[in-house]
Subunit: 191 residues, 2 copies
Amino acid sequence: MDKRQQLIQTAFDLFYRNGIHAVGINQILQTSGIAKKTLYHHFASKQALIEAVLEYRDEKFYNWLASRVDAVKPGYDGLNELFDALDDWINNRVKLLTDFHGCFFINTCAEFSDPQHPLHQISQRHKQRVNTLIESQLRALGIIAPAVYSMTESISLLKEGAIVMAHVQGNLSAAQKGKDMAWLILAAYFS
Amino acid sequence: MDKRQQLIQTAFDLFYRNGIHAVGINQILQTSGIAKKTLYHHFASKQALIEAVLEYRDEKFYNWLASRVDAVKPGYDGLNELFDALDDWINNRVKLLTDFHGCFFINTCAEFSDPQHPLHQISQRHKQRVNTLIESQLRALGIIAPAVYSMTESISLLKEGAIVMAHVQGNLSAAQKGKDMAWLILAAYFS
DNA sequence: CTAAAGGTATACCGATTTGTCTACATAAAG
DNA sequence: CTTTATGTAGACAAATCGGTATACCTTTAG
């Protein structure tokens, strides 16, 4: 019954499905059944609410992904699991994450395109967190600097590509394709 | 002095930089210095204007990319040129395309997330056009069905990943990384 | 007992949204 | 010469935007 949390969750659902600019304060209030005064008691502005929503999604998504990856052996298994997790997300097999509508952070950067914009930067930090997850898997394979940075970028590129292909082009097997390509990258490194 | 074209170009510039929902009709009118009556003479609604803007960008971007790719030998050279062209775009070396703010069609799908939405579908068709460009390069290498379809998806995934990494994470060398990875994919196929 | 925190409901503010309208000007074509 | 297409300038409408304000209720803690 935490009203603040209810507002964040309702706002996320609406923002994720319809975009941030397209959803007004009043729609969030009507959907959640919470009074306007209460919203402005917890948040100074719509902007502050959006920032809280991004942090909420960052926590939820990262924790989910990290728990999936950390449940298996670091290294090959971890990277496999990363793409399997993406595949489950894309194909709506993860009820925790809401129906797939692309990556909320990529979508946010599309709406707030300026890299200096606070919402863009929060999204960027989320991506950096996920990159550290990838990097730790590569380090477990004995890959060290500077190769580990280059490889992390490669895997991250495959991950982003898979998410966007799934969303924009409706290619639901994009994560499996990303996984196959990740294997080729690794094989090439160790050959 | 074609007012219709002026409106489309002004609208594109504003939509691309700030997002579609964030830009109002009045802002487009003020920036272009065109009267409201004129806009509604040429377009039935804002939605119709947006569709015209997407088609304008589709033409402009596809023609630019195809002319770059078709200027070199089909096959390896064409694929190389594809990623070199992306690299030029990302690093603002193509004045024709306006300052890089990610892919306008990916951004549009982020704002209009429902795959059934007309604007989402127009964006999807643009991606399909670009895919045919990739496919023809692969066919020039002697790759035939069904492998050519799978390979086209792979290259497309790398392309999307590069664009998003460049925009969201600010990684300006993402297209070069995509090119390197494309080479590995091709090498693996022919080995 | 009282005071503060958190809540509902709703009226209101000024600005902005898409879109329509009137009135008028110009230029080209039959 | 007159019609049609295309244009400007701007008032106007109805709705919605983010945000503030008033009035009142309930729970909890000192």
